[in-house]
């Protein structure tokens, strides 16, 4: 099967039931997509398929046939997507592990909704756990990214 990852054509011949996350991490070395729970409960593995955020740990390879996958490594060429910039300006991360998933999820939210309300931001980010507890800064960063955009 064929797919695109970060705008590059890929060919995949392995187990069609393998979650996309392991393909990205183990085969392509795109380790910005993090393994957190394996069950779609924490959001650390969030990537975009055709711009919409999905949990790559519960999205199997056969379902991404001919799809366009974007990972954190492909979100922007220089790391200066407005959400990434907002994250740095707000000093969001502590350990940093969940942040790629958070950023991917927030970027997808803002691409679909240019001016989300507070409740819409919280609802959209519910699936992304941060055990360090950076939530108030995550919320602040998204709000400032909305303003900047």
């Amino acid at each position: 099967m064929k797919l695109q990852v970060n705008q590059q054509d890929k060919n995949f011949e392995g187990d069609p039931q393998m979650p996309l996350m392991w393909y990205l991490r183990d085969e392509l070395g795109l380790t910005g997509t993090k393994f957190g729970c394996g069950s779609g409960l924490c959001g650390a593995c969030t990537v975009h398929i055709d711009g919409k955020s999905v949990r790559s740990c519960v999205t199997v390879m056969k379902d991404v046939s001919n799809q366009k996958v974007t990972t954190i490594e492909g979100l922007s060429a220089d790391g200066n997507h407005p959400v990434q910039k907002a994250w740095r300006a707000a000093n969001v991360p502590q350990c940093g592990y969940c942040q790629c998933g958070q950023i991917m999820n927030a970027a997808s939210l803002l691409s679909e909704n240019k001016n989300p309300s507070d409740d819409e931001i919280l609802a959209a980010m519910q699936g992304n756990i941060c055990r360090c507890g950076c939530y108030q800064r995550i919320f602040g960063a998204i709000k400032s990214a909305v303003k900047e955009a």
């Binding site: 000093n91 942040q99 519910q126």
Partner: protein
């Protein structure tokens, strides 16, 4: 100092004589203590010299300068989110007058002889290494000045380092650090007594909070590398089926079925270790494969059956009843002042309360992972470990190698919270690499593995009895703590809290009560108990601070005023003569870090003031307050809750005051306190690990919930008590957690009149 042993906390505790030394003298002989001449008066002693590896401050170890002027600073503590990886090099850079934009940070491998203690635990990085890293940077500055003096043929007194260059003050000529690097590198490190530290007024970075964490950009771009992310050419992937009951053993498994899974290359049985097992793997059956996915499929195919062993009947409900019964009977006296029995017998009123705090799992967002490769009798480890020095020793022991033949590369840690102090996952990788003839093997833990096989935060039952006289004054305080001990990993189960665990916020009870007795009751460990961010401070603070609020309610007094009344006047509380065995003061000297109720009071008053204590609140809202001294810092928290008609609780605002002595990076203190509120709310409101038939009943974030965004603690305000550099720095990573749960529960009481004594809150407020 160096033996094949690992965890420094434990090492210090197991050295009983060291502890004893601490009680009597209040200070140890600190081999590597710093007394830079300029700060003789201000310098203070810490326990750093008594830790494995002690302290190293030599700039030849930590600092190198390229001819391009890039200053490379080694950071030797593990980074799990506190920011120490950045903050300690920042201290060096400031003292050496380096321009932060020209500083590169590299992570030390595990080598405590070379770098000093690396056990990133116990909220010690800033506390123990601010002074040595200042000395390191200042010595480097002297050497650069001397290098310029040699180059120019002038006296070094005429040379002054400033912002990445040295200036010849009489002439104004300048040489950049890059131009001086080669000469400076050949100079001897000055004597510590000749090292002159900067005037704090000249700090560029220390105390400012403007330096961002060094990995910030990489983190936002997916380039930061954690233990789970390691990739080595030729690497195999392994997962392990571990016994669901601690001390269980493998009965049967289907190796052939696992080997049939495409990509599986080997199935290896790992033996269990009897307790005390320290950090030895739990045992089980490993599946090694060409990919994580194949290893996971192979593990499913194993269909392992188990012999459960002696812990098969561990049941949280039954154990709770057992602990309650123990807590209702006299225990072993740990600290005794006055005559509690007599005072209780003569009291006008006796108030008796019980509190229960369940097991917890750290569940860092990155589940444990480690990679090991063995080549030519030498092992290399890549792992997210909090204690790379200890890991090095344990891997060497496991493989029968000398420590010198083991290199531990420390990745970033995707959270730690104490879980990654225990290197069982790295030892699994070592065993499996050996089985594969030394090929690199990465052991991946899944979330289920993490929750099923943690070193759990100890379950605890707390029984507090207070006697009031006819004027409503508390004349007797008896606190019994019953909790299985983490020492059961390291010695035959002591069946009660050790000196270390009592030191975690019970033995230093600050209350101004004439008759006071602290006791422990017997509790046998039936699982692996481990330290979890702030450890026994959680149950101890929960009981003490809930009880104070309960007494305030009994007496019809304001909880904040009554808390201050219980703390009493500003004074040093000195339990050294009233403890029955040992007083553990977080491994640090008493004289530097006594129990100072002026500081306890100050944070209570500050938090209350900033929170607007007593302000008018909307319907359904309530304020609660609690304070705890932990990790030698003083933290008070005021939590505001909002409870709706259905009993749903949110936390609209939190105000936390922290006195942690001198602050190196206030911005990271804020982030730690914000995070502590989130973790505190998780454990107070929703998270618990329970056992049935010896097995953990939870498995992932659906049944072990942790706080999600918007569920509270979104407005955490941190108020730092200002302190100059001569005020000993104390812990930050952990101390934010302990006061949160009691402040939250006290707020729930204020809002609803309902007193919660069993954590987590769960649905206890829900209307039926």
């Amino acid at each position: 100092m160096k033996t094949h042993n690992s965890q420094a906390l434990i090492k210090n505790v197991s050295r009983r004589n060291m502890l004893k030394g601490m009680v009597g003298t209040g200070g140890l002989v600190l081999a590597a203590q710093f007394v830079p001449s300029s700060l003789m008066a201000a310098e203070y002693k810490t326990g750093a010299g008594g830790m494995p590896g002690g302290v190293v401050w030599d700039p030849h170890v930590f600092v190198s300068i390229g001819s391009d002027g890039i200053v490379t600073i080694v950071t030797h503590r593990s980074e799990m989110g506190t920011g120490s990886r950045t903050s300690l090099p920042m201290v060096v850079a400031d003292e050496m007058e380096a321009d932060w934009s020209k500083v590169k940070i590299i992570q030390a491998e595990g080598n405590e002889q070379k770098y000093g203690n690396q056990d990133t635990d116990g909220s010690r990085s800033i506390r123990h290494f601010t002074q040595p890293m200042r000395a390191c940077g200042a010595a480097a500055r002297h050497m650069l000045e001397q290098a310029a003096a040699v180059t120019w043929g002038v006296s070094s007194t005429e040379c002054r380092a400033e912002n990445h260059q040295v200036i010849h003050t009489p002439t104004g000529k300048k040489l950049g650090y890059g131009e001086l690097a080669a000469v400076a590198a050949k100079l001897k490190t000055p004597n510590i007594r000749d090292v002159e530290l900067k005037d704090p007024a000249d700090f560029r970075y220390i105390g400012k909070g403007e330096v961002q964490i060094t990995d910030l950009r990489d983190i936002t771009m997916g380039k930061a590398t954690y233990g789970q992310d390691i990739r080595i050419p030729g690497m195999k992937y392994a997962v392990v089926a571990r016994p669901p009951v601690v001390l269980g053993t493998v009965k049967t498994y289907d190796e052939a079925a696992a080997m049939k899974v495409p990509g599986v290359v080997k199935v290896v049985k790992i033996k269990s270790t009897p307790m005390p097992a320290k950090f030895a793997p739990l045992g089980g059956v490993a599946v090694i494969a060409d990919s994580t996915w194949a290893a996971l499929k192979g593990r499913e195919a194993l269909k392992v059956t188990w012999t459960d062993g002696p812990n098969a009947s561990y049941d949280s409900e039954a154990y709770k009843a057992k602990m309650q019964a123990v807590a209702r009977k006299p225990g072993k006296v740990e600290r005794n002042e006055g005559d509690v029995d007599k005072a209780l017998a003569g009291a006008a009123k006796v108030v008796e309360r019980e509190y229960y705090i369940p097991h917890g799992a750290h569940s860092p967002m990155e589940p444990p992972a480690a990679t090991v490769q063995i080549k030519g009798g030498k092992a290399e480890v890549w792992a997210c470990v909090q204690s790379p020095g200890g890991t090095r020793g344990d891997v060497a022991n496991t493989l029968g190698l000398k420590e010198d033949d083991v290199t531990v590369h420390v990745t970033l840690l995707g959270g730690g919270f104490g879980r990654k102090s225990k290197c069982d996952f790295a030892l699994e990788a070592a065993i499996l690499s050996k089985e594969m003839g030394g090929a690199p093997v990465k052991v991946v833990w899944t979330r289920e593995d993490d929750i099923h096989h943690s070193f759990y935060h100890s379950v605890s039952y707390q029984h507090v009895t207070a006697g009031l006289d006819k004027d409503g004054k508390v004349v007797a305080w008896r606190h019994r703590s019953v909790s299985p001990s983490l020492m059961s990993n390291f010695m035959p189960d002591p069946k009660r809290e050790s000196a270390l665990e009592l030191g975690l916020g019970l033995i230093d009870t600050p209350f101004n009560v004439p008759n006071l007795r602290l006791e422990t009751g017997e509790a046998v460990a039936h699982t692996r108990i481990g330290w979890f961010r702030s450890v026994n401070n959680i149950p101890h603070a929960f009981a003490m601070q809930s009880m104070v609020a309960e007494l305030a309610a009994e007496l019809g007094k304001d909880p904040k005023d009554f808390l201050l009344e219980m703390i009493g006047p500003p004074r040093i509380v000195d339990p050294r003569k009233t403890v029955t065995s040992e007083l553990w003061n977080y491994g640090d000297p008493w004289d530097t870090y006594p129990v100072d109720t002026a500081r306890t009071r100050r944070v209570v008053e500050l938090a209350a003031k900033e929170a607007g204590w007593g302000r008018e609140l909307p319907k359904g809202h309530g304020l609660g307050i609690a304070v705890q001294r932990s990790f030698l810092s003083y933290v008070a928290t005021v939590v505001e809750v909002a409870v709706d008609d259905e009993g749903n609780v949110t936390v609209p605002r939190v105000d936390t005051a922290i006195d942690c002595g001198f602050v190196v990076n206030p911005e990271r203190v804020h982030s730690q306190i914000e995070g502590a509120a989130v973790m505190g709310l998780s454990l107070a409101k929703m998270s618990q690990i329970t056992f049935k038939n010896g097995r953990v009943q939870q498995s992932n974030f659906h049944d072990y919930p942790v706080l999600r965004i918007g569920q509270g603690a979104m407005d955490v305000r941190t108020h730092i008590v200002p302190a100059t550099v001569d005020n000993p720095s104390s812990g930050v990573g952990e101390p934010g957690v302990p006061p949160f749960a009691p402040a939250f529960i006290n707020a729930v009481f204020a809002a609803t009149g309902k007193r919660i004594r069993n954590l987590p809150l769960g649905d206890q407020l829900k209307k039926a």
